[in-house]
Each structure stands twice: as structure tokens, then as C-alpha cells.
């Protein structure tokens, strides 16, 4: 499923919303983390740690981004750093909010 246009103000990441990788994004694991490529925007992004890769990979299966972070072992004091990284990914359409019904 492609990303729906976000209605959230820029710079504010909703940790409690359900998120997912965009359907047009592919992930290539690397020693430092991973490469992300979006076939629609033809943009490349880098995940600079294996832990961030674990978070991104589990987004689609977790009820919220916060839950994905917890499941990946992210400590409370690091949560805002991860939220910031996820916000960057959302801004470049690599991840998007999952529609729930």
C-alpha cells in the first residue's frame, strides 16, 4: 500500500500511531545498518544503526512506533532520538502511517 498524504504538522512524529514501510521501499541490510531505496521518489536513505533497522522492520507488525521501539530494545532515554530518525524517514516518504479500520 502506498503512503497516504500525511496531515500531521512537519516536525512532529506520532510515536503512538501505527506505521509501516512504504510499499515502494526496499531494504538492504549492511554492517552499519541498512540502505533504504524508494522506487517512487528514487531516493536513497541510510539507517545508521542495526537497532534502527530493527525498529523500521518491525513497524508494520507493531501497533505503534513506540511499541516497535520497545520491541527492538530501545531504552527510554534514547526514544526521542529514534523518534527524530523516524520523522526524517516519514518526511522522505520512506515510512508512512498505516491505515487502520
Amino acid at each position: 500500500m502506498a503512503c497516504a498524504a500525511s496531515t500531521k504538522p512537519v516536525g512532529q512524529f506520532d510515536l503512538d500511531a501505527p506505521w509501516q514501510l512504504d510499499a515502494q521501499v526496499r531494504v538492504r541490510p549492511e554492517a552499519f545498518g541498512a540502505l533504504l531505496y524508494h522506487f517512487g521518489t528514487r531516493q536513497l536513505s541510510f539507517l545508521k544503526s542495526p537497532a534502527l533497522l530493527a525498529v523500521v522492520r518491525s513497524l508494520g507488525a507493531q501497533p505503534s512506533a513506540r511499541a516497535a521501539c520497545t520491541a527492538a530494545g530501545v531504552q527510554a532515554e534514547d526514544l526521542m532520538r529514534y523518534a527524530h530518525a523516524l520523522q526524517t524517514l516519514a518526511a522522505s516518504r520512506m515510512i508512512c502511517e498505516r491505515e487502520t479500520r
Partner: protein
């Protein structure tokens, strides 16, 4: 507890599972004979990869998760199977950006391209005016490129790339290039002139002057990410703030080149046996070359920076471009020939006594291209055959050939 990850550039020095930026030159055949051609293209190589071999390489790129390839040449669109290969790649999760001089971008092709998601087009243009462009790329090439751009824009292809190699004659046209790109809804990309391929013979007269390098740097800083550079001007970072991009030599680490016969080189600017890592026809295929070749393993080890390491700019320029050094006769741990601190000029003067390595192979057309402003008289001597007398033979007079069957050969009627 978490530790801050190393900067990406540091991580990339050690190489990746697969290249990020793979250039694949599909053919050495080209309708043009640009004086700075990186691959000395012109004539097709009879050993060129077949359609089936190309498709097998694409399948391997898909397995390695190489998400896109930069296809070039030569002129890739002159391969009869070009569109089939593009279709095969995009159908297998390998996006395509291809470079062309525009010769095959008809209105119909442009419409077909505009309907594709995973294909990007890059039109080469090396002058914002026909005079400047055609002097480098050949007579009529400006008009061909502009026609291709019009066709793409008319077909609704937004954001195609216009790619410019920066020379002494076009740095002053940067604003005009940008205006051309804006007019067509395209994105401008400017890259560095390398002394590679036929560029080895034209670099001295074409590379930007010191003043122009500064002008170019300031212009790039002012335009930020609006203008693409293929990360090719990291040697200019010595002027101050780093330009957008990774700012490192990615040769064999994040970048490589597959040439038309399947040879794998460290980067597109290094077509020379010294940078040949293997061939996709080898038993391990492309993955085997990328992951296990001796050359690439060597490039992924920490590189010595020589005298440059004591320079305050080394952290940003990293000693510059490996290929530019190689083809100007400078050592790999020496300064870039266009070092912004002026170390390159000194090194070039010191290296002038020994000949620089010659790019090879050479697939140039065997006829000399037309070059604007270089029409010179052809040196030949006209002589009048002196009257033939039976004997004694006069030196300088051609002898009567044994094959001359004219019964009157050698016969001079007496007056």
C-alpha cells in the same frame, strides 16, 4: 547503552555488501566522438555482452539488492536490445537511470519513458550554447540534445536530468544551464572533468582554471541540493564547507563500473588495467568480483594519504580523485591535480618528466572528429611530375611501375 555510530563516510571506506552507485556501460559504440569521453568510445567491441548475458547480470543485481544502475556507454540507446534490457531491469527491482546524447529520444520514445516509474533519463550537454557544446561533443550535438529535452518535456517527463561536464569554457554558463533546466522542468547535474579516456588528451586545455574552480564552488554552495553533482567535486571541499553528498572517493567501496565486455573497474573514471578487478563472465559472476577481488579488497583497506595528511583540508577532500591523480601521473597518496591549496600544480610540475599512464582500451572512431575552431590546413606537398627521360634516372621521379601496362609507359615523344 548506545554509542554514536561512525560517520557514514568512515563506514563506507570498508566497503558494502553491494555497490550503491553502479555504472554500467552497455556499449562502446557511439554516434559521437566527444573529446573528453571517459571510455574512449566510438566503435562497438565485438566481445560486447549479449542480451542474455546482460539479463543475467540484471538478475544478479536484483539478488544483491542493487536498487538502481546508471546505464551509459558509448551511446547505450544504439544497442538494439536497449529497451528490452531497461524493461528487464525495471521488472526485476533494478531502477534505471540512463545517460544519452539524445539521438534516439523521439517524441514517441519520450512518451513511452514518461509513463515509466523506475526509469530516469539524463541528457548530456556540455555547453549552454551550440558553440561551446559542439566544440567538445561534435557538430550538431547541441541541437540533438535540445530536441530530446523538448520531446521529454512535451511528453510530460518531469525531472529528467541535464548532465554537464564542467570545463574552462562552460563554468561561466552555469546560470544559463540552470535556466535551460528550469525551462524544461528538468534537474541540472554538473560533474567534474576527468583526465580519463580521451579526456587524458583534452584535460590540460579544458579543465577549469583556479579562479573558475572557486567560482564553481561558490555557485554549488549557493544552489545546495537543487543541483546534483554525483558527489564529484569533493576535492573542492578544501575551500570551506563540504558540498552536499558523501564527500569520499567511492571507488571499489560504494561505486564501480561494468564495461560493455563485462570488465569490472573500480570506478567509471578508471578504465585501465591497473583498476580492473575482474569480469562478470568469471565463475563467481559480478558478486564474486565485488566481494572477493584483490583490487577491491585493497581499496577497502585504510589508504595512506601521504603528505596530504598533514594538510588542514585533508579531512574534507581526502586527497581527491584517485583516477584524476593516476591519469595525470600523480601517486595515489599524492594531492589531487586540481587541489584547491595549489599542491596539485607543484606535483604536476614535478611529475612532468615521466609520462602519465595512458587510458586503455581505446574504442575511438578511427576518423578524426570535426572540432569547431580547430580547422587547420592539411599539410601536403603538391609536386609536378618532371618530364621523364629514358636515362639517366632523375632522383625524385617515380620509376615506371612494373604494373603499368600502358604500352606508352615511359615513352616520351621527341619534339
Amino acid at each position: 547503552m548506545t554509542t554514536a555510530p561512525l560517520p557514514l563516510a568512515e563506514q563506507f571506506q570498508h566497503g558494502l555488501q553491494a555497490p550503491i552507485c553502479l555504472t554500467w556501460e552497455l556499449t562502446y559504440a557511439c554516434n559521437l566522438s566527444c573529446v573528453h569521453c571517459l571510455s574512449s568510445s566510438g566503435r562497438r567491441d565485438p566481445r560486447e555482452l549479449t542480451t542474455a548475458e546482460c539479463m543475467a547480470v540484471i538478475d544478479e543485481l536484483q539478488r544483491m539488492q542493487v536498487f538502481y544502475v546508471n546505464i551509459g556507454g558509448g551511446e547505450p540507446t544504439v544497442r538494439p536490445d536497449f529497451w528490452a534490457l531497461v524493461d528487464h531491469a525495471t521488472g526485476h527491482d533494478v531502477g534505471v537511470k540512463f545517460s544519452t546524447n539524445g539521438v534516439k529520444i523521439t517524441p514517441e520514445v519520450a512518451r513511452r519513458l514518461a509513463g515509466r516509474d523506475y526509469v530516469d533519463v539524463q541528457i548530456s550537454l556540455d555547453g549552454a550554447t551550440p558553440e561551446v557544446n559542439d566544440a567538445v561533443r561534435g557538430r550538431g550535438s547541441y541541437e540533438v540534445a535540445l530536441r530530446a529535452m523538448r520531446n521529454l518535456a512535451d511528453a510530460g517527463f518531469a525531472g529528467f536530468k541535464i548532465s554537464v561536464v564542467m570545463t574552462r569554457h562552460n563554468v561561466g554558463q552555469l546560470d544559463v544551464f540552470k535556466a535551460i533546466a528550469d525551462r524544461f522542468g528538468a534537474q541540472l547535474r554538473v560533474t567534474r572533468l576527468r583526465p580519463s579516456g580521451r579526456g587524458a588528451d583534452s584535460w590540460n586545455e579544458l579543465h577549469p582554471t583556479v579562479g573558475q574552480q572557486r567560482e564553481l564552488y561558490d555557485w554549488l554552495v549557493a544552489h545546495g541540493t537543487d543541483v546534483l553533482t554525483g558527489d564529484s567535486f569533493f576535492h573542492l571541499s578544501g575551500y570551506g564547507a563540504a558540498l552536499p553528498g558523501l564527500n569520499l572517493c567511492g571507488a571499489g567501496r560504494v561505486v564501480c563500473l561494468i564495461d560493455p565486455v563485462g570488465d569490472v573497474y573500480a570506478c567509471p573514471f578508471a578504465i585501465h588495467p591497473s583498476f580492473l578487478a575482474g569480469n562478470v563472465r568469471d565463475p563467481g559472476g559480478f558478486a564474486g568480483v565485488w566481494q572477493h577481488s584483490e583490487l577491491f579488497s585493497d581499496l577497502r583497506r585504510p589508504q595512506a594519504g601521504g603528505a596530504c595528511e598533514s594538510c588542514s583540508a585533508f579531512g574534507s577532500c581526502r586527497g581527491g580523485c584517485m583516477a584524476a591523480k593516476f591519469f595525470t601521473g600523480l601517486p595515489r597518496d599524492g594531492p589531487d591535480p586540481e587541489c584547491v591549496r595549489g599542491h596539485g600544480e607543484q606535483a604536476l610540475a614535478a611529475a612532468a618528466s615521466a609520462p602519465a599512464p595512458r587510458p586503455s582500451p581505446d574504442h575511438s572512431h578511427r576518423t578524426a572528429p570535426y572540432r569547431t575552431g580547430e580547422r587547420q590546413p592539411v599539410p601536403l606537398t603538391l609536386s609536378v611530375r618532371p618530364p621523364v627521360s629514358a636515362h639517366p634516372p632523375v632522383s625524385g621521379r617515380p620509376p615506371v611501375s612494373a604494373c603499368n601496362v600502358n604500352p606508352l609507359a615511359g615513352f616520351i615523344p621527341e619534339r
